[in-house]
């Protein structure tokens, strides 16, 4: 089992049907892209498929998200990056962070989804809005 930094949001998900209106864009960003501290060992494809399903990104009737990066850093680190309200929307972390890049395998388009996982150490570029990250633009 993978530790989730957002037990509360997961709990809400289990009680309510997924709805756009329930979640802010920041919460959606956390749900899709943050997993701190992340898997203990090198992540396998199962890490990606399990977490993407638990975070309600993939599921029955939904297309498999082809590519998804999980950042293994505390949310505070990315919040700090977005803290200065003035400045460009796209901002890159000064230091490289632990990330897992998930890539769907050729065999899956709809649920269930199989992935290949690659653990990397990369800088992360996010888009900020009102002092919070709302979009993971790329890793470099």
């Amino acid at each position: 089992y993978f530790c989730s930094p957002f037990p509360i949001s997961l709990l809400i998900f289990t009680l309510l049907p997924p709805s756009h209106l329930t979640f802010t864009r920041y919460e959606k960003f956390l749900r899709q892209h943050l997993d701190h501290p992340g898997p203990a060992g090198p992540p396998g494809g199962r890490y990606c498929s399990t977490l993407l399903q638990r975070r309600r990104v993939n599921g029955p009737g939904r297309p498999c998200k082809p590519v998804n990066t999980f950042v293994h850093a505390p949310a505070a680190e990315l919040l700090a990056l977005c803290a200065p309200r003035h400045g460009p929307a796209l901002r890159t972390t000064a230091a490289a962070l632990d990330v897992t890049a998930c890539r769907v395998t050729g065999g899956s388009v709809y649920h269930p989804c199989a992935y290949r996982a690659a653990r990397r150490h990369q800088r992360v570029e996010v888009a900020c809005e009102d002092g919070r990250p709302v979009h993971l633009s790329r890793t470099l």
């Binding site: 089992y1 997961l10 709990l11 998900f13 289990t14 756009h20 209106l21 864009r25 199962r46 399990t50 399903q53 638990r54 309600r56 599921g59 029955p60 939904r62 297309p63 998200k65 082809p66 590519v67 998804n68 929307a89 395998t105 050729g106 065999g107 388009v109 888009a127 809005e129 009102d130 709302v134 979009h135 993971l136 633009s137």
Partner: protein, 456 residues
């Protein structure tokens, strides 16, 4: 009634509530619900008390061998009429196979067993094969992906295939079988009593060496309609051998998956012959092969053949560029059968979409689903995309994920979505950045158009 739950942590009150519902369910699916072996005691009572239960799916729960033992007590009751059992990634070992063998031998209602992602090992699955050989066993589907099988399993599988006429679907993907074992399996399949319809051998360590024997299965077994050898390095030489079987008049293949097989444009000549002459073929996946524009152009030529019946073409991540889009467009303006086209992760660019426009808008084109994720598209092609969205009323699914469409492009997409002529049911927009205002607009749009689902 069906119970279908994913990723829910169970507490005693919720579990008790669900157990009372389960007593009348036809299907119970509890995927990744933190169930343990002790919960299987309760499930066993449910199976016992509910003779209408036909499907039980417990994937991704740590049931363990002890859990399966409890479950099987229920499964062995004479009133049980379970048909489908899913136990993928349930922390089972070879010890569970003895229990499952007894169910296979005693329960003729059971037609599907999915036990992939468990460390059953070759010794465990050998025991399962014993169950398969029992005359009362009527299993149709057996899924053994990621079961840590080795080449040694093939002898027992072949023995089961010789004696068990009911088996129609066999998935052995993601086991390190290797060429020698796959060749032996294929020779067994040619002789087998069963008429296998589906054979999945993804990531089984196959090279071109096995392809002559796989080809022999294709040309001898008209029953085989679904073959996947994806994620094996068969290369162009292997593909050429496969095509001999595919082109054989006996072969009635419908679905052919060749993703990540180290194919190049060299293979496309043979594949074109298969697409244009094999009228049973309706779905082909060539994802993650370096076909390039030259290869795609050959496939497009085949799609223009009046005999081509292909409905789904998946060429994601095939090294394509703008240059092949004219040929694709030309094929779309002739071909009436193609329903689903996956072209994501190719550098088509805005100019590519401009070229596709003519074919997509042609009355002959009946495409329902178009995937253009991560194709280097910008706001500049969104006017054209919007035109396609409102003019092509058979188009119900469009993927534009990972393209930098920006607010300018998204506004045009939204405008098209608001047009009553746009019949899109699913718009996929993963990881595209737009402003908060655009986000509000998309939410409002989705609420006002209940038939439309926007996935992001």
């Amino acid at each position: 009634m069906e119970l279908d739950i994913q990723c829910e942590e169970m507490n005693p009150a919720r579990w008790a509530e669900l157990l009372s519902i389960m007593k009348t369910c036809k299907a119970i699916r509890l995927d990744d619900c933190s169930l343990s072996s002790s919960d299987c005691k309760d499930l066993s009572s449910v199976i016992n008390a509910n003779p209408s239960l036909t499907e039980l799916k417990l994937n991704n729960n740590e049931l363990g061998d002890a859990g399966i033992e409890y479950l099987c007590k229920g499964l062995l009751t004479p009133s049980c009429s379970l048909e489908k059992l899913w136990l993928q990634n349930c922390n089972l070992t070879s010890a569970s196979c003895e229990t499952l063998r007894s169910v296979l031998s005693a329960q003729p209602s059971l037609t599907e067993l999915h036990v992939g992602d468990n460390r059953l090992g070759t010794d465990g699955v050998k025991v399962l094969c014993q169950g398969l050989m029992n005359p009362s066993c009527k299993l149709r589907k057996l899924q053994l992906e990621y079961c840590e099988l080795t080449a040694d399993i093939v002898e027992d599988l072949n023995a089961a295939l010789q004696t068990q006429p009911s088996l129609k679907e066999l998935s052995l993907s993601n086991n390190t079988l290797g060429d020698t074992a796959v060749k032996q399996l294929c020779r067994g399949l040619v002789e087998a009593r069963c008429d296998l319809e589906l054979l999945h051998l993804e990531n089984c360590g196959i090279t071109s060496d096995s392809c002559r024997d796989i080809s022999a299965v294709l040309s001898n077994k008209s029953s085989l309609i679904d073959l996947s050898v994806g994620d094996n390095k068969i290369g162009d030489s292997g593909l050429a051998l496969l095509c001999q079987g595919l082109l054989h008049p006996n072969c009635k293949i419908q679905k052919l998956w060749l993703w990540d097989c180290d194919l190049t444009n060299v293979s496309c000549k043979e594949l074109s012959r298969v697409i244009s002459t094999k009228e049973t073929l309706i779905e082909i996946s060539l994802i993650d092969n370096n076909l390039r524009d030259a290869g795609m152009e050959m496939l497009c030529q085949a799609l223009k053949d009046p005999r081509a019946q292909l409905q789904e073409l998946w060429v994601r991540e095939c090294g394509l560029t703008t240059a092949c889009c004219k040929a694709v467009s030309s094929a779309l303006s002739v071909n009436k059968h193609l329903k689903i086209l996956h072209m994501g992760e190719n550098k088509l660019g805005d100019a590519g979409v401009e070229l596709l426009r003519e074919g997509l808008l042609h009355p002959n084109c009946n495409l329902q689903s178009l995937w253009l994720g991560n194709c280097d598209l910008t706001a500049d092609c969104c006017t054209t995309l919007a035109t396609i969205m409102v003019s092509k009323q058979c188009l119900t699914e469009l993927d534009l994920s990972y393209n930098t469409l920006e607010d300018d492009g998204m506004r045009k997409i939204c405008e098209a979505l608001r047009n009553p002529n746009c019949k899109l049911q699913q718009l996929i927009l993963y990881d595209i950045f737009w402003s908060a205002e655009m986000d509000d607009e998309l939410r409002a749009l989705e609420e006002s158009k209940p038939e439309l689902k926007i996935i992001s």
